[in-house]
């Protein structure tokens, strides 16, 4: 099997898995037998059984239902973060690389300041200042992740400045906006998209990390990190709560990483051709 076909198959597989995840996250609620937020103390700490496939938590809530409910928050907030940092980083980086001179210097120095701190520590600090909540968690992660896209977009743009087709574009009469939108952006986009697809997984983990520390989502939101933070107190008595939430996190991150990897492989094989 040739490389290209193999990476195409993996891309299709990861897209199917992603579709299943989306169906579960955004449509799964309709088929749930139990209310994810309604406490039922009679069934607290139930082990996994037919009625409760992933068991119940300290308030008798179905862990499976809460995972399905929480997947929407976890996936949606991560996608939202990636969308924002992708847009802002790409626009600033491309503009810096294209404009050059003082603007390039200013924008790059700002990214250097942000990158001077360990990224998760910076996110924790910003979330700590802003206060807890999903939106503040999203904002703190946006403040950390945009620099990757900005630097990548800028370096890709700089590498395209001198390629012959830029000269050809100028000879054909293309102005600066046309060069930016028809020549630079379409050519820097594939690498940035691969980075974005690979970043979704790590953003989900970071978001869960913030919530675990009590800086992201708060009770009663069923966000996986927040649920795991709550479940750590019952690790000895009811390990299934943290284990199943951990598995959910692992599966979703793996699917997004698989998508990113297969996208990268596909683009690499096309570039080789």
């Amino acid at each position: 099997m040739d490389k290209k076909r193999k990476s195409r198959i993996w891309l299709i597989v990861s897209l199917i898995l992603l579709l299943l995840l989306f169906v579960a996250a955004f449509g799964g609620e309709k088929w749930l037998h139990h209310a994810p937020f309604k406490p039922d103390m009679r069934h607290a700490f139930q082990k996994p059984c037919l009625e409760y496939p992933f068991g119940t938590d300290n308030l008798g809530r179905c862990v499976f239902c809460r995972i399905i409910k929480g997947s929407r928050t976890s996936i949606f907030s991560a996608l939202f973060v990636v969308l924002i940092v992708f847009t802002v980083g790409t626009l600033l980086g491309t503009a810096a690389g294209f404009a050059g001179g003082i603007w390039e210097n200013i924008i790059m120095k700002i990214t250097l300041i942000f990158q001077a701190f360990p990224s998760f520590i910076l996110a924790v600090a910003i979330a700590g200042i802003l206060g807890n909540g999903v939106i503040n968690g999203v904002l703190s992660l946006c403040a950390v992740y945009w620099t990757t896209y900005c630097r990548l977009a800028r370096s890709l743009t700089v590498s395209l400045r001198e390629v012959p087709y830029m000269k050809a574009a100028k000879v054909c009469g293309a102005g600066k906006p046309a060069i930016l939108f028809r020549y630079i952006l379409p050519n820097v986009m594939p690498s940035l998209l691969v980075t974005a697809a690979l970043d979704v997984g790590s953003v989900i983990l970071s978001m869960a990390g913030l919530s675990f520390l009590g800086l992201g989502a708060v009770r009663p939101t069923a966000e996986w990190g927040a649920v795991m933070s709550e479940a750590k107190d019952y690790l000895q008595t009811a390990p299934w709560i943290i284990v199943f939430n951990g598995i959910a996190l692992f599966v979703v991150v793996t699917v997004f990483n698989l998508l990113g990897d297969s996208l990268r492989d596909l683009l690499d094989t096309e570039a080789e051709m």
Binding site: V163, P164, Y165, K167, A168, A169, K170, V171, C172, G173, A174, G175, A178, R182, Y183, P186, N187, M273
Partner: protein
Amino acid sequence: MDRQGWIKVEHLNKTFQKQGKRINAVCDVSFELYPGECFGLIGESGSGKSTLANLVAGLEKADSGAVYMEGSGGRIDLLAKGSRKLQKEYGQKRQMIFQNPRLSFNPAMTIGKGLEEALRYYTKLSKEERKKRALENLELVGLKKEYYDRHAFELSGGECQRAAIARALMIEPEFLICDEITSALDVSVQAQIMDLFVEIQKKKKMTCLFISHDLALVSNICDRIAVMYDGKIVESGVTDQIIHHSSSDYTKKLLQSVFLADQETMTRYERKKREKQKVF
């Protein structure tokens, strides 16, 4: 010669800073191009040919000097500030073909869309008209219509250069700058591309600045030649005069190296010359 120059390059200078050193890429270069002629520019790698081509094409700014064109409203300085309108007028009249044909096409665009670019910016033709013109030009350079929807990376080097020629002809330019258009191609493809180029240049009666380091090639197709060395034009004149009665030591060395490298190249020139004489 009482002919009036159409493009005049006067005292053009361009320097670069490289690793703290100042390099005179183009040093006090002056020449003129007459309407419909093919003017050859030869010299070794690093002699400043491509920089000069970029300056004349308006892709780079010169440190000093001027490039004049005889426009509809008289002589215009293409490098003068505030001459955007004039530069647009010039832009519509000149086109350029590059050394690496594959890299001269945007990989994110199909060949057809790449061909239509100049029409998009210089004319107000509709989408259908642009496509029609692109298909006509593909046919003109011997490429099938299917190539319209292909990308440059799907084409061979020769096919790409044909497409690049087709692109250069899209706005029907009066002035064509060819920067080493055959050096990235293998020998058999070089010959095909040159045959196509010469045929089109004669048919369209375009003025052409032909840059190459291949003396035999330039001597075959150009009416006049300028020899460049170290950023300066060391000698220029009619092809015959440069080949047989060169006054510059550098040109003599250059000719000698051609003789040593390939004895046949000059016989090729002589043969062509005899063929021409037979015709007239």
